[in-house]
């Protein structure tokens, strides 16, 4: 059970510690005070100029952009403080005393989060206040309350995302130097996000930032949840004893590949030669163990199909199958794509999904692989809107190769989802690294089913589906 007493005591001490160190507090305070003033001065000076030059539309967007910059500068300090939170304490040998206290792992994590968030968020809000006040006093311009609220919430959400990710990184790193190197995984996406936010503001799409805020909120919740899940004192202390050994990693990975899924197998399994054991025991076990993600992904794909259909039937541009027939008669177009191209395309899509899933907690698996189903649903809806039978369309265009490709996509999505979640929720007794290796081993095992399925799908799509389409729509011509 998590109490707030411990986290608050911990956070108070750390905030005082930061503020009592003038090497940290002085630059933070100076930047927080001076930078918004300079920004407000620049905006106040530039706005009338822009308006005189006829750029009134742009001028109205410069103020929230300046506000966002003023708010973000202090937020950037949070990364340094967060990386320092565990790795720095470990470097100074102060961590173990803290670990011997009755604080639970979750209380420690929350205490550190609070400690690291409080100064930057406080300074960020102060910077916004300074910017707004300076703009009002210097240029007699008010910032709308909803803009203040949006930028304020965005800054807090950005801080929570950065801090939660950095605290996880800091708790997993063996030293402060290691944590700083790993911080690139946080800095680069955040830099991209800031550019996106700036772009949205400058092109007058500031309202989209509410969606960005919602996304950041979800991401922050996921990262905090991940932090609480993967943070434990055992890991922090055990790192003293461990050396990163590539040989050991390889050995672990090999043992995960060889081990029967779900624990010890019955004795008859051990007597089977490897391919038989894989297809008659390991694979069914893997599918059984992953039944929840399989069902989730299958449900999502079906939902995507339905959503696409509903959007498609409302489309103002229904598909005219007469054109498709013309294409078929001419005998050119996408239907003539060959087996190799289709197979490589599908496998490349899965490979990209695997990589992105690791960095997106599995979200990439859901988004990237659901997208084709939405598109298929959309086209089917357009076909229906054009007066054709949608089931006939699906049976001709999708079903022949879909019989193989859809199960393969569901399985790939489910195992990629598990791979992404391996970071967030390692199985009991596994470290994050072991959990990732285990999920990767499972994915490789299931690839022994996926590759043949994708090959069959590619063959069908290249050779059988066009024949079926011609047979259905052109009467076999």
């Amino acid at each position: 059970m998590t109490h707030l007493h411990g986290p608050l005591v911990l956070a108070r001490r750390e905030v005082r510690d930061v503020l009592s160190d003038w090497r940290i507090s002085l630059p933070m305070g100076t930047l927080t005070a001076v930078f918004p003033l300079l920004l407000a001065f620049a905006v106040g000076w530039g706005l009338p100029l822009l308006e005189r030059l006829g750029g009134g539309g742009v001028a109205s967007r410069v103020v929230p952009f300046g506000l966002m910059l003023a708010a973000f500068i202090p937020i950037s300090f949070s990364l340094v403080l967060a990386l320092e939170s565990f790795a720095g304490e470990k470097d100074r040998n102060t961590l173990e005393a803290l670990l011997t206290t009755p604080l639970t792992d979750a209380e420690l994590f929350l205490g550190k989060m609070l400690a690291v968030l409080t100064p930057p968020v406080g300074l960020s809000l102060a910077a916004m206040g300074i910017f707004a006040a300076a703009l009002k006093l210097g240029a007699s311009r008010n910032i709308p309350p909803d803009t203040l609220l949006l930028i304020g919430l965005l800054s807090v959400a950005e801080a929570v995302v950065m801090v939660a990710a950095a605290v996880v990184v800091s708790s997993q790193a063996a030293s402060l130097r290691g944590a700083n190197i790993l911080a690139s995984f946080i800095i680069l996406p955040m830099a991209g996000l800031l550019q996106l936010e700036a772009l949205l503001l400058l092109v007058g799409q500031g309202r989209v930032l509410w969606l960005v805020l919602a996304g950041l909120g979800v991401l922050a919740a996921i990262l905090v949840r991940t932090g609480i899940r993967v943070f434990n004192r055992e890991e922090l202390v055990a790192r003293d004893y461990r050396n990163l050994s590539l040989r050991q990693l390889a050995r672990n990975f090999w043992s995960y590949l060889q081990a029967p899924p779900g624990g010890p197998a019955p004795t008859w399994v051990g007597r089977l030669p490897w391919p038989l054991r894989f297809y008659f025991y390991d694979l069914p076990q893997l599918l059984r163990l992953h039944r929840v993600p399989i069902l989730v992904v299958a449900g999502l794909f079906a939902g995507g199909l339905v959503l696409g259909y509903l959007l498609g039937v409302q489309s103002p541009n229904p598909v005219n199958l007469a054109k498709v027939r013309t294409v078929l008669e001419v005998g050119s177009g996408p239907l003539e794509i060959g087996f190799g191209w289709i197979l490589v395309h599908n496998l490349r899509a899965i490979a990209i999904t695997v990589v992105l899933s690791v960095f997106s907690f599995g979200a990439a698996a859901l988004l990237l692989l659901t997208a084709p189903f939405v598109i298929v649903g959309f086209v089917t809806g357009q076909v229906a809107a054009g007066g054709e039978d949608p089931l006939r369309f699906l049976a001709a265009f999708i079903l022949p190769h879909g019989l193989f490709e859809i199960p393969a996509a569901v399985l790939a999505g489910a195992f990629c989802l598990r791979l992404g979640l391996a970071v967030m929720a390692p199985p009991a007794g596994y470290t994050v690294g072991q959990s990732l290796l285990l999920s990767l081993a499972d994915l490789i095992k299931v690839a022994l089913l996926l590759v043949p399925l994708f090959m069959a799908a590619a063959y069908m799509e290249a050779n059988v589906t066009p024949m079926v389409i011609r047979w259905v729509y052109l009467g076999g011509r």
Partner: protein
Amino acid sequence: MVEAVALTKCFINFWALQGISLKVCPGEVLALLGPNGAGKTTTIRILSAVLKPTSGRATVCGHDVVADGPRVRALVGVLTELPGLYDRMSARSYLEFFGEVHRVPRNLLRRRVSDLLDHFGLGPVADRRLGTLSKGLRQKVALIRALVHDPKVLFLDEPTAAMDPASAWQVREFIVGLRRSDRAIIISTHNLAEAELLADRIAVIVQGRLVAEGTASELKGRFAGPPTFELKFTGPGEAAQRALNGDVRILDFGLGYIRYQVADPARNPELVKRLVGAGVGILSLTEVSPSLEEVYLRIVGGEGTH
């Protein structure tokens, strides 16, 4: 009060503990001895619910260290191997911080911190930044940190390391006092004299295994071999050697003395008679008590068996 049964701990690539069992009762001090990397700190970390054992079971005051970690940590005080203090805090605020984390009521905490600081002679530096204190003073602050919540069980890793002799004496006296108040204390140390002085029992850990356990005199009796005697004499040393040779194991000899081991001390009168007969003038014959260091070296040298 503290009980461990068959504790093992594996850190992926090596076994730090391989079946440690021990028991410490209230008012008892157990010293853990062993070479660096033997598993002493890992044992303490498991018993203080910082690490989880790979197998085996441990309880502190009846609470399981795995299932009830926060409760166990509330009951124990741990002096870590390195003091690890927050340098920018004063000793007083540092100790009050740890007391607050342990939920010690504020008034009681202030009184206790002041009393402990005064007891260890830290009153005059209580409000100085910890970063400015000497190693010995920092070690004392770390020790007080382990005591600030009045724990029932204490784990002290090298409690007098870095202390001057007077401070070390003061800490040892304090530990003796704590024992009288029915606390269970486990000390991990390389200071064998300290272990012998403070501990009721000594456990020697080598490569994650408990290879010997008992009181200091039990260990000496078990591992020091036959009793050693020192004979001082006048006259030629060669004559004394010749007279004893074959019947005893001569460990050392020099001008006017010879040191030997004899399995049966009752044979000494006969040996003395033989020496006198050989013209050796006996000045004294005394039994030499083996030091704990000798015993320890024998145990860690591979002669120990649990």
